[in-house]
Symmetry: C2
Subunit: 607 residues, 2 copies
C-alpha cells in the first residue's frame, strides 16, 4: 500500500515526517451528534488507550479537549494492527467517520462524549517515552520536576486553560483600548538605569564599554514622554523587570497593562479603567463586576480594614477603641498609639491552639501579641485581659463593637502601622477559616486620596509613595510645602479581592511643580538634572495635563483563573531563586563573551 | 470671575493644574460644516498664532490634525486679552462654537478647513519655551538633535502617522490571528545564553553570582516548546535582541511577529502568513496585495536576480553567460566561475561618471570591476572590453541578452556569490536611477527551497542557513547524509520590494532527525545536550509536527509607511552607536551595583 511504502521510506525516523497533505478538520472538543456520518481528520496526543473486545480505543487530546477514536479490526485490519504500537502521549493523526457511541457508553462529562470516530486511516506522527509524570490535572509530583519538564506540565488541561484565558484577556484589553483611540506604542527594553525605586537588572554595553543599560521597572518616563509628544492615548502590554528577592507571587519579569492619557482627570481614567476590567472579567469568565466600582479613601480603608487593599468579599470591619483605653489601668492599651479590635461573629468556637496559631501569624507583621475576648453564650467574657478593664471600659467596648454571645474580639495595640497590618491581615485569615469567602465573587474597589509622600526612616527623608512624578491634589500645595507628610496625591489604586491589581496617578506636568516635588524629596536641581534631565526638559516644552494607570496582568489572570500561584499563569516562570529549571538559565558564559563586554567576575569570597 | 480666581490660586504654577471638569469633545481633525453651531471643547498645542484685524487666530494641533480657533475681543474681552500671551507649542483648552470661516478663507488642505471655533472660554494648560527646532514635517535639523528631543520630534505629523499606522498593523495582526485560534503567549526575556547565532546581550544574575541571563535573539526554542506543550497555535509580537554592530536599518532591539503552528505543513503556514500580510497592508494603507503571492525557488531567485530577496516591482533580470565565454580569449571571463550580464534598456544614456560611481558601488560587494557595453543607436558596441570578444561571442551575447540600441550591458565575472551580489544590488540602484519603481506598488514573493546548510569557511564546517531546528525536505535525507551542502530545507522567506520581511520553516520534530542535523553541523551528542538539552528532551516526549514564521515588524512598518529609516518607525530608537540620545543610555552605574552583581569592570587599555 502507498501508505506503508511511505512509512518505509522514512523508516529511519520511525514516524511520518510530513503530513503529506493531511489536514486536520476539527479540534478534539468539537464533534457531537450533529456531525454523525461526517468524515473527519483529527490529530493529537493519546491520553489513554484501552483494548476491549478486539477493539482499540484511544482518547485523543489536544488543547481544546478529548475525542474517542476506535480502531476496528473489521474496518481496516492493517491500521488496526499498527495501532497496537500506540502508547500514551504518542502523537497520531486519524481519518474516520463520526458515529454514536454504543448505548450506555456515552460520557456526559465530555462535549464529545456521545460520539466516537471509527478510524479508517491512521498516521503515527511521533512516539513518546513514558513521561516523568502523568498528564493529568491532579498531579502529585513536586513543582520542581514539573518546571523542569514544563513542556509536559503545560499539557495539563487546567494549566492550558490559564493560557487560553490569558490570551482572551490580552485581546479583550486591546480591542477595548483600540476602540477608545489608544495607540499601542512599544517602549525600549534597553533603557537607562535610575537609582530610584527597586534594583535594576543591568545589561553591559559592548559598544560603550564600562556603561550599562537597565531593563525597565516600568515604562513610566517613556509613557510620559509619549504624552509630551502628543500621542494622546497610549497603552502597551509590556514586560517589566525588578531584581528583588522573590516572594511567592513575584517574578523577576512580569507583565503590565500600561496606560497613559492626555487632557484628562482622575474621573476619566477611572471610568476607562473600570470599563476595561469589567470587559476583561466578562469576556474571559463571564463575570459581571459592579458599575461603577465602589470608592474608598485611603484613610477610610486603613480605618476600617487596616490595609490599603481591603478584601471586600466579606465584612469584618476593624473598630478603633484607642479613646476607650486612654486612661485605662491596662497599661499596654493606655500607652498605645492605636488600639483596634476585630469582632468575629461566631468566633467563640476557635480553639486555644487556633488562637495560638493566629498569634504567631500576626508576629509576621511585627505584632508582639494577640489579645482576645470570647463572649460566651451566657454573656460572660472569657479573656486573659478583661480583668484589667474597668466597668466603664467593658461597657464602652460592648457598645462600640456591638459584640454578641458566641463572638470573639481580637485586639491589636501599639504603633499604628503594625497594629493595622496585623489585624488587617488577620481579618483575611479569619474570613478563610469561617468560610466567609465565595470564590465566585469578585469585589473591586478604588482606593483614593493616598498620601503623596512617606517618611523613610533609613534615609531620613520623605520618599514618593507612588513615584516622584505624581501630582499633589490642587488644594494640597500649601500642605506639601508646610507639612509634606500629610499632603494628598492624585493617586488611585484598583483593588480586587484584597489584591492591588492596578495603580496610577495624575502626573506632574509643569517644570515648576516638578521642582517643588523634588525639593520635598530632598532632590536638588543638579541631581534632578542628572537623573531626570530629559523629563525636566520635556516639561519645559508644552507637556499636556496627563495621567495613567498600570495593571499587573499576571496577578489579574491569577485572580480570574483562581490560580494559587503566579507561576501557573506564566508559560515559563522562574523559581524563587530566579532560575528557569527547563532551560537552566542563568548559566555561566565563556570568558571571551565577558572580555568583549569589558567586564570580569569578582573572585568569590571563601566561605 | 471664577476662572480668574482659579488661576490666581495656582499662581505659582502659572497654568491650570487641573482640568476642573473640562472635557474635550473632539479631536482636531473632526469638526466640519456638519457641526455648525455646535458648542465644543478642544485641546492641543498651538501650531501657529496669527493676529489679524484685532482677532487672534490659533492653529490648534493634536495627534489627529489641526483646527483653527479664533479669539474675538467682541466676544469675551477677558479671554481675548489673555490670549495675547499665547506662543507656539503652548498647550491650551478652548470652549466655543463651530462656525464657517469667512468667504474665501477656507483651507482645502485640511479636513477642518471650512470651519473655525469662536472661543468663549479658554484655559492655558501649559507654556512652552521655544523648541530647538520647529514642529513641522520639513525639518532641516540634524538627526542627533531630533533624537535628543525625541519628545518634540514625535509631534511632527509625518512621524506621528507612523505610530498610528504601526498600532493599526499590530491590532490587525492580533485580530487576524485571534480569529484563527492562535494564542498570544509571552515567552521570557531573561533566558539562557546559547552560543549559536549572533552575539547575545547578557544580564548578570545577582542571586546566582557568576551566572548570566541572555536576552532572546528570538523566542525560537520557547515557541517550539509551546508546540510540544500542545498549545497548537502560538503567536507573539515580541522584542528580540542582537548585540551586533549596527547597520543603517538595524537596532539592538527589534520587534518580531512570531508565529508557530502544530499539525501543519508549508502550505498551511504560507496561506495563513499571506492572509496576515494582506490584512496588514489593506487595514493600514488600503493596499491590495496579490492573492496568492507568487512563489520562486531560491535557485531561480539567485539565477534571475542575483539575490534571495528580489525586488519584483521592476523587471531587469540577470542573464548568465558563463558558457559563452568558457573558451574566450578574454581571460577574465574565461577563468570565472560565473559570468552574468544585466541589460538595462535605455541605459546607454549613463555618463562615464555614473558608470564610475556604479563601479565603486559594486566594490561594496567585493567586486573588482564593472565591465560594460553600450549599444549605440547605430548598433555599434562601445566598450573597453568588446575588443577582446570573438565574433561568435558577440553574436551569442546579442542573442542571449536580446539587447537593443540605446541599452547598456553590465557584467560581473568571478566567484558566484560576489558576482551575484554585485549585479543583484546594482540592479536595484539602476531601477531607482531609471525611475522603474512605483512607490505605491508592493510586490511580495515567497522564496522557497532554500539550502539547509551553508559552508562556513572560517569554522571549516557546515552551519545551518536558517537555524539548526529546520527540517530537511523529506526527499533530501540521503542528500543530507552524502552531500550536505546540496540538501534543501523546508524553509521559506517572504520578500516584499526587495526586503526579507519574514522567514520560517517546518521544524524538526523527532529526536532522531535532530541528531542527524546536529551531526551534519559537527555538533556531537554531548554538545547538543549541553546547549539544547531541553529541546532534545522535548523531542522524546511526543513533539507534534510543527512549523512557523517570524516577521520583522519594524521593517514591515518601514515599507508600509515608505519611511527611509527604521528609526522613523520606532518611538525611542538607538543610534548606530547603540545609544539613546534622549535618556543618555547606556550610562555608568555606581560600583555598589556592580559589586552586588559580582562583576567588575576590566581596566581600559591605554591608547
Amino acid at each position: 500500500m502507498a501508505e506503508q511504502q511511505e512509512e518505509r521510506d522514512y523508516n529511519e525516523f520511525r514516524v511520518i515526517q510530513d503530513l503529506a497533505g493531511w489536514r486536520r478538520t476539527h479540534h478534539n472538543n468539537e464533534l457531537t451528534a450533529a456531525d454523525l456520518g461526517e468524515r473527519v481528520c483529527l490529530m493529537g496526543w493519546v491520553q489513554f488507550r484501552r483494548d476491549h473486545g478486539g477493539l482499540i480505543f484511544l482518547d485523543l487530546r489536544d488543547r481544546e479537549g478529548l475525542t474517542q477514536v476506535v480502531f476496528n479490526p473489521e474496518g481496516n485490519p492493517d491500521v488496526h494492527e499498527r495501532a497496537h504500537a500506540i502508547r500514551a502521549e504518542y502523537v497520531v493523526a486519524v481519518k474516520g467517520v463520526v458515529r454514536m457511541r454504543p448505548e450506555g457508553m456515552a460520557n456526559r462529562n465530555l462535549v464529545t462524549g456521545e460520539v466516537e470516530i471509527e478510524v479508517e486511516e491512521y498516521k503515527l506522527l511521533n512516539t513518546s517515552e513514558t513521561p516523568p509524570f502523568p498528564i493529568e490535572d491532579r498531579v502529585e509530583v513536586g513543582e520542581n520536576l514539573r518546571l523542569k519538564y514544563r513542556f509536559l506540565d503545560l499539557r495539563r488541561p487546567s494549566l492550558a486553560r490559564n493560557f487560553i484565558i490569558r490570551n482572551k484577556a490580552a485581546q479583550a484589553v486591546r480591542r477595548y483600548l483600540d476602540a477608545l483611540g489608544f495607540l499601542e506604542i512599544e517602549t525600549p527594553v534597553l533603557t537607562k538605569s535610575t537609582p530610584e525605586g527597586a534594583r535594576d537588572f543591568l545589561v553591559p554595553s559592548r559598544v560603550n564599554q564600562g556603561e550599562f543599560y537597565a531593563l525597565p521597572q516600568s515604562p513610566q518616563l517613556f509613557k510620559q514622554m509619549l504624552m509630551v509628544s502628543g500621542m494622546d492615548r497610549y497603552f502597551q502590554i509590556v514586560k517589566c523587570f525588578r531584581d528583588e528577592d522573590l516572594r511567592a507571587d513575584r517574578q523577576p519579569e512580569f507583565t503590565q497593562i500600561d496606560i497613559e492619557m492626555s487632557f484628562i482627570d482622575e474621573a476619566v481614567i477611572q471610568d476607562m479603567a473600570e470599563g476595561l476590567v469589567r470587559t476583561i472579567f466578562s469576556e474571559t469568565v463571564g463575570a459581571a463586576l459592579p458599575d461603577p466600582f465602589p470608592r474608598m479613601t485611603y484613610a477610610d480603608a486603613m480605618r476600617d480594614y487596616g490595609v490599603d487593599k481591603p478584601d471586600l468579599r466579606f465584612d469584618l470591619k476593624l473598630t478603633e477603641v484607642t479613646d476607650i483605653f486612654t486612661n485605662s489601668g491596662f497599661k499596654v492599651f493606655a500607652a498605645s498609639e492605636l488600639v483596634k479590635v476585630l469582632r468575629v461573629p461566631g468566633g467563640g468556637e476557635l480553639s486555644r491552639k487556633e488562637i495560638d496559631d493566629y498569634t504567631k501569624f500576626v508576629e509576621i507583621y511585627g505584632s508582639k501579641g494577640l489579645a482576645w475576648i470570647k463572649i460566651k453564650e451566657d454573656g460572660e467574657w472569657q479573656s486573659p485581659i478583661v480583668k484589667f478593664f474597668s466597668e466603664d471600659e467593658i461597657a464602652a467596648l460592648r457598645e462600640r463593637t456591638a459584640c454578641q454571645p458566641g463572638d470573639i474580639l481580637f485586639f491589636q495595640a501599639g504603633a499604628a502601622d503594625i497594629a493595622n497590618a496585623a489585624l488587617g491581615n488577620l481579618r483575611c485569615e479569619l474570613a478563610e477559616r469561617f468560610g466567609l469567602i465565595d470564590p465566585k465573587v469578585f469585589a473591586p474597589v478604588w482606593i483614593t486620596d493616598f498620601p503623596l509622600l512617606e517618611y523613610d526612616a533609613d534615609e531620613k527623608r520623605y520618599v514618593a509613595r507612588h513615584h516622584p512624578f505624581t501630582s499633589a491634589k490642587p488644594d494640597q500645595m500649601e500642605t506639601l510645602a508646610t507639612d509634606p507628610g500629610n499632603a494628598l496625591a492624585r493617586a488611585y489604586d484598583m483593588v480586587i479581592n484584597g489584591y492591588e491589581v492596578g495603580g496610577g496617578s495624575i502626573r506632574i506636568h509643569t517644570a515648576e511643580q516638578q521642582r517643588i516635588m523634588f525639593a520635598a524629596l530632598g532632590i536638588d536641581a543638579d541631581e534632578a538634572r542628572e537623573k531626570f534631565g530629559f523629563l525636566m526638559d520635556a516639561l519645559k516644552f508644552g507637556a499636556p495635563p496627563h495621567g495613567g494607570i498600570a495593571f499587573g496582568l499576571d496577578r489579574l489572570i491569577m485572580i480570574i483563573t483562581g490560580s494559587k500561584s503566579i507561576r501557573d499563569v506564566i508559560a515559563f516562570p522562574k523559581t524563587q531563586k530566579a532560575t528557569c529549571l527547563m532551560t537552566e538559565a542563568p548559566s555561566e558564559v565563556p570568558s571571551k563573551q565577558l572580555r568583549e563586554l569589558g567586564i570580569r567576575l569578582r573572585e568569590k569570597k571563601e566561605n
